[in-house]
Subunit: 320 residues, 4 copies
Amino acid sequence: MKTIGVVTTGGDAPGMNAAIRAVTRIAHWKGLTVVGFERGWEGLITNTFRQLTPRNVGGIIQLGGTILHTARCLEFKTLEGQEKAVKTLNEHNVEGLIVIGGDGSFRGALELSKICNIQMIGIPATIDNDVYGTDETIGFDTAANTAVMEIDKIRDTAISHERIFIVEVMGRERGFLASVVGVTVGAEVIIVPESHCSFDDVVKTLRENTRKGKRAGIIVAAEGCGKVSEMAKTIEEETKSEVRLTILGYVQRGGTPTARSRLLASLFAEKAVELLCENQGNRVVGLLNGKISSIALEESCGNSKPVDTSLLRINEMLSI
Amino acid sequence: MKTIGVVTTGGDAPGMNAAIRAVTRIAHWKGLTVVGFERGWEGLITNTFRQLTPRNVGGIIQLGGTILHTARCLEFKTLEGQEKAVKTLNEHNVEGLIVIGGDGSFRGALELSKICNIQMIGIPATIDNDVYGTDETIGFDTAANTAVMEIDKIRDTAISHERIFIVEVMGRERGFLASVVGVTVGAEVIIVPESHCSFDDVVKTLRENTRKGKRAGIIVAAEGCGKVSEMAKTIEEETKSEVRLTILGYVQRGGTPTARSRLLASLFAEKAVELLCENQGNRVVGLLNGKISSIALEESCGNSKPVDTSLLRINEMLSI
Amino acid sequence: MKTIGVVTTGGDAPGMNAAIRAVTRIAHWKGLTVVGFERGWEGLITNTFRQLTPRNVGGIIQLGGTILHTARCLEFKTLEGQEKAVKTLNEHNVEGLIVIGGDGSFRGALELSKICNIQMIGIPATIDNDVYGTDETIGFDTAANTAVMEIDKIRDTAISHERIFIVEVMGRERGFLASVVGVTVGAEVIIVPESHCSFDDVVKTLRENTRKGKRAGIIVAAEGCGKVSEMAKTIEEETKSEVRLTILGYVQRGGTPTARSRLLASLFAEKAVELLCENQGNRVVGLLNGKISSIALEESCGNSKPVDTSLLRINEMLSI
Amino acid sequence: MKTIGVVTTGGDAPGMNAAIRAVTRIAHWKGLTVVGFERGWEGLITNTFRQLTPRNVGGIIQLGGTILHTARCLEFKTLEGQEKAVKTLNEHNVEGLIVIGGDGSFRGALELSKICNIQMIGIPATIDNDVYGTDETIGFDTAANTAVMEIDKIRDTAISHERIFIVEVMGRERGFLASVVGVTVGAEVIIVPESHCSFDDVVKTLRENTRKGKRAGIIVAAEGCGKVSEMAKTIEEETKSEVRLTILGYVQRGGTPTARSRLLASLFAEKAVELLCENQGNRVVGLLNGKISSIALEESCGNSKPVDTSLLRINEMLSI
């Protein structure tokens, strides 16, 4: 293998730049040339790229976002678009393509792998942590810390005003982020899509808290549950206490990556380049049982990662 | 003067605890006793209080919120409620009352001052910075920094995805916070209630930016302008580019106070206690022309502080 | 089991309070009473304690340090001191003792376990990460992030002035912290006690960097290597470039714990209480292969945890 | 005036990039061309420069350090060096030069002004805040906040271990930074070069604190006082308590600028360009009595700014 490509697709995640840097430098160390395609799949279709060298990826390890940009690309969903992408890759003599992104990105890579012989490697990077084949994705730890630091601030007001706050965190359809954030901010209640949680239960818990002398409280809700403003109204009516709602939103997607997000990015990148050098393609790297490893791309795309619901059970005890 | 009272009312602001600590310690240094009333005016009506001593205000300088709590109090708006408050103050032999809060708090203090001889001193503490008689309120600098750090994160995503983000910041009916935040995050457009800003102008600016090669952008809008989701839709339709909306919300109200918010809190407190020791009551302390000073409580309540619109003009040049 | 004790000993670490909170609440959920001993082993000797309840451990999850305090205790190193400690524990009918700390703390617990029937459980909490039986200790992730955020700031000056900075990070005799921090700040060189690193090699690397056009650089050195000021002088003389030295120091020990340090604290605490409820004592809980587990106290005390030197090898590629 | 130059000299300070951006964009708005010289005076001597345009100063408002770099330059201290600098400026047809830096930088500008007709404008940017003619310099607020956030972390350990910590903060020969940091972290003692402070006084205060029940304490010392390790030893011997020392060092010089540092940078830049457009040269812009203003360059260089020692007096009361 002489030339590899790199692309970031899907939503940005903190640590993508650390991964781009690590892929580039490790590939160069091993004698490979690296082409970075811009704006996700769009760059493969339009042949928008830049050569990545050890020097031009300097000074980016600490930056949020992705210097290669990312974008939605409808054309890539068509066979025609995918064939254009393969043509571009062939023009650059790309033999291996590293796709940094989430499960949608990997499904795209899987499609590509079916119409060409280029080896695909997925590096999981999304704040949602919803990629099968890894216990943790690049960016997840950063987003969790951002949300925790925000909710620590909100708690100041919750306690000062003795109010209930509902805080909606990201996570798309899944509750990975909400679970970890809920436990680590000391939430009274955590609401995730994977676990049935009736408004009645929430109201009951809050009433018990009042009896225990807890005058303030934080409810962490995953965006995948929807209906947070309806929930705020119901709780307000039922508990006769003031309820405030904050949707943390896009701040969770940016910011300088944490040490852990940077470390995962570096280790995943090393594994990805190593796999390509060994001609093992169509795999997704990941952290499994505390070790850097990889599974087949097809397996990652074909399975849904379960949320660790034991966190919810533990939080019931922690919020006693 | 032998005994003074302290109360925090209205919305909490970072630095209120630094002010409580400073009032308590400086008052003790000068031989005074300090009674802290809890939950704003409610504590005066219900006689809920704690003695404040140099030791029990230790370790709070860095905490957001207010250890004395704060709350809305409808009863205090009635003469009957105010008379209960005066009765409580008299029972404690309080000769001077330091009210830490915003303009609503000071109007409450003004009402009280009309039915008793207790000297009222206002210490301006609100993230909105909308208090007449001071160039800056306790908490404003902290909220500005919180908003700026958040928007710095959002910019990562804005640039990576080459999108427009509208970010709504707090400030109630006023644009103090939005103006400073807008200039210091490098916003393309700042929208405040004090300045007419048509959607047409915003759209025009964004179109020009596209021509200049700016593919991403941040619009900072004060909550007092309202209609941000409508604005997002209009801009999306008119510019044919994706627009995202984030409402920063309550994170701006909490968090550890900045050096400046703590410093103002300490200096305002010193001035407040000094005024009481000199038997100069019914005043609001503040920062005017770079100096710690004070104006009459009545003057502060009767006037509206103007926003420095030169910031908007300067930002037009800065976002060229 | 009806009553358990908790103590924090050795150097403080961010997340100790989250662990105290979690132990207390989970123990109460399971019907146990919790006694917190103050100032480490000293509190066991002098019978200085406080009852810990779900309410009085509220609002501490986000605090650095330890509300139970910690201290050196020479008397505990004597048999007489240890017997006093056992006497205290017996007076409180403590059947299980949870010791939150590092390897020195666990050796103390092991000594105690030899002269009484109280079940000892160690919860590893130290920023040094040097506890055998766990891949990660409470506080390590926080200290790593603190060091990384500091060095990100130092890099601004390193690049602006085009200078070499040597930054000494904590870790006592070991290089766990320096390895992770070095990789995640993008250090040119990482120096740890576990790997021979001659000044000559460092100078050689820096000279090569100059040839490559790198005009600034960060060297991360573990405190266990010693001699950083000597190193600074040597490098300055040999490379004829200005070298600056910063010893990060105690800032790495404090601060609000990260999401991960809080999560580990909560999960370790749950495991610790569960072990006691199952009458499995004299164990150290930990994270092994990505799972919460435990090993024998004696095994933890009798072994030295190896540093993952593959990080150094990877960093050579990353700093190409 | 058609062309202006910009240079950053002396130690870097957070907000320098915000100033470079603001100078460039406002100058372009007013029809001027901007040349940025690199590595301080060295760039003027060697004619190392880059054209600054509204687009190439985008995305830097939040960056610490200076994109123009800075360096010591011995040659510039000679008349020959200064004449080379003038020659370079003339080659570029520079009619006005904006010097972003501290008092040493302004003395350099004053020297230049004596041998050419180019209008010099100083923009004060240094974390030391020791520039005559402005109440605050760009970067000071950021450095103060960095030091405060660090010491907040150190306090966790100070309280947990009930120890005295001496923390040395920057400020060169002056106590501006130490004074503000000391008051805002709640230091027991603040030691600055401008105020006589005997070790005896410090020991006396600490002994009194022990009597009052204060078991931990923070002493903030300005680097200009020197001898902190000697002080640590003396205090340890005299008070028989453990004393720890941390030198905050270079972290105070970097990092993303605060809202206030960015705002000052923008407002100073606007004033600087305005002065040049009005052909008012050889001035230093600043914040005086809460207003953006300017004084003669010669006046700024010829005077020493006094430290506000009232902060020390207030801190005596605050640390009661």
